[in-house]
Symmetry: C2
């Protein structure tokens, strides 16, 4: 199964264009704040969204729009979260209507998203007035601009695309994403807009998206906080031709693997670019009695503030891995746990079969000074495994979030 | 109901003595590392302990010892957590035996506790050899030494005692506590040893302790991490005389109130002295449809890293209160929430009936610069309420925990 990286982001799949502009919501004129993605043809569409009980008007409107399982455009601002302000749902409806009018679609074919500060009245007029300019900026090379325009405190640009054979033809999946803060397992965790020229039944599309999110975006944590706005959407326009993929197609697995490759790349990029992060943490739990136990154990480790602080200090304080495992949900034998740290600088076993090992602290420090740290936990209580990604907790995280609104 | 503060800590109740020494586990000779509390008479005893699946040998041994519901002494070291090291349970047994031999008790009448680094072999001999000196240091003025000797990264001394009338006589409850890191709701959260000269049935004692922990220690969070070692114990020696209290006694409520006064004082002190903290945060949720909903909402607010960082920066970013409420467990109407901030510098409404308010940012900043910040949330969806305590997230927390073992 060949699934290869290609450039182009959300515009890599045929028939998609994108754009990002500075519409004026953000004071800094050098930072874009409004993005659009457009498909020439109608798309099958699916969405996965936040588990937060409080949802922005934008997300609620998108969930209503996608009840028909079709979409043709995405519009997203990155300044105002459009939640707990006056008329948030109405704001979202107006943005959908104006976008639809400009692009000659139905308003229900627009995916509307927002991120930024909560509870502030939104200057919706500024967005509405910018939609013609934004639409006229749409181009096949617009993915990086769109990717920049959906970001808040991100540092790295997050876009990715792959090409693969399915349904007898070459197909492509592309995506842009926004992460940085309020990133936590078990919800959509951030914004990610995915495009594909695959021809795929909507039920298969939703199933693939849910599955891919479950093992990638839902396995990352930056700070344990889940946003009111976050969503992952996918639009499939069928432009690649080929046989229509269904859940039973032989090539459905290929499509799913390609989608997971895209979402895993972006999930890791989001974790590595967590607010203030200096290190990417990857925890793999093996030997678990069930996959839910494995997942919750891996997530508990990369979510612990104490462990995240220790990793910032390159301190092999594996007792904090143990403590986090003990706090995770699910039952497993706690007497036989083994723990290792691994990076480009080597690998070191620090706990074996339930007892701490005497280890070379200098070597451990060298290993933990690298940019990517792997924490391997063997519960020795079964055959299931899971991987989760996070980042260290740093002075800079506190600084960024002590001053976010300023 | 008069419940008045008195000095003396764990030695305030009649018949209790305490001591703290430097036994040598800790390199720094100026910092004590081993504490003892002793009652001349046998005591009814109860314990509440961590929900972490992984428990230290000390805690496991204490749980076994207290199955008989009696105790007469506490011994605790603050350097080695005695978990996931070789022979942790055996270490605990040996410490109980030596303590018992020295104090002429049964080993099962010893409460053994430990805190410190996980997974390191313990120099148990050093502890055993120090027990005679420790026992000979016991005195009626030893509470501050014992309080210091159980602490790791705490800055403030945590002891408290009260006096009240119950069962026809004056009774006293005293306690010492250790907090600082790995503090999180829904487990014992830290070490706290409570003494009382009340005469009280063991079932009433356990019920009162569980109830008091539930609304005080289980409502604080410093970093969302639960330790493998933590416990709250109480010993009641009946020295005050008076009628024996039972759950049905009229004065049981007085005893419970006095106990809650002690545990609430110490819970707040632990939150205020959270690792690196500069501010005590108190979140009160009112108007909740149930008490579990109220508790989980209040805890979610004071547990959010994003909110804790905003409070460090004195930033009235109430959207993070809202986000945390939305992530809490339990169902409530999310459309009518009101939020206010309050401190010694005044009070300000920032969100009312589900919509953000325009407020004076300078005034908000003045309010949030104080050392104690109250966050008041009205869900307007019922009559239940709960309060939780936490602290801000600071550079110092990251610094302390990046270097803890060094």
């Amino acid at each position: 199964m060949n699934i290869n990286y290609i450039p182009g982001g959300v515009c890599a799949p045929q028939g998609f264009t994108a754009a990002g502009i500075h519409c004026g919501l953000r004071k800094n004129k050098n930072k874009m704040d409004l993005a659009m993605i457009f498909s020439e043809k109608p798309c099958a569409a699916a969405v996965v969204s936040t588990k937060n009980k409080i949802k922005s008007g934008s997300l609620l409107q998108t969930l209503e729009n996608l009840s028909g399982n079709t979409a043709q455009a995405v519009i997203c601002n990155s300044v105002n979260a459009n939640v707990y302000n006056s008329g948030s749902l109405d704001n979202a409806k107006r943005i959908c209507s104006r976008t639809a009018a400009e692009l000659l679609l139905e308003p229900s074919d627009v995916i509307v998203a927002s991120t930024g500060v909560i509870g502030q009245d939104m200057n919706t007029e500024v967005i509405l007035n910018s939609i013609p300019v934004l639409a006229s900026s749409l181009s096949g090379s617009g993915s990086p601009d769109a990717a920049r325009a959906i970001q808040t405190t991100d540092i790295t640009l997050k876009e990715y695309a792959v090409e693969f054979m399915a349904g007898g033809v070459k197909q492509r999946i592309g995506a842009i994403a926004k992460g940085a803060g309020m990133i936590h397992p078990n919800m959509a965790t951030m914004l990610c807009f995915i495009t594909t020229d695959a021809d795929i039944e909507v039920s298969a599309l939703q199933k693939a998206l849910t599955c891919a999110c479950d093992i990638t975006f839902n396995m990352i944590s930056v700070d344990g906080d889940s946003s009111t706005n976050d969503m992952v959407s996918i639009m499939a326009n069928g432009e690649s031709g080929g046989t229509c993929l269904t859940v039973d197609s032989e090539d459905y697995r290929t499509f799913l693997h390609a989608l997971v490759k895209v979402t895993r790349y972006l999930a890791r990029a989001i974790a590595a670019d967590g607010e203030g992060a200096t290190r990417l943490l990857e925890c793999t739990v093996i030997g678990a009695p069930g996959s839910t136990v494995a997942k919750s154990a891996a997530r508990a480790v990369i979510s612990s503030n104490l462990l995240k602080s220790a990793m910032f200090g390159s301190d092999a304080n594996w007792g904090r891995v143990l403590m986090a495992l003990g706090n995770s949900e699910g039952c497993f034998n706690t007497d036989r746990i083994s723990i290792s740290f691994k990076s480009a600088a080597g690998s070191i076993d620090v706990c074996e079969n339930g007892t701490g090992k005497i280890f070379d602290e200098t070597k451990a420090y060298e290993i933990l000074r690298e940019k990517e740290i792997k924490i391997i936990v063997d519960l020795q209580d079964g055959t299931h495994r899971a991987t989760a990604w996070g980042c260290d907790l740093t002075y800079e995280y506190v600084k960024i979030n002590g001053e976010y609104r300023s």
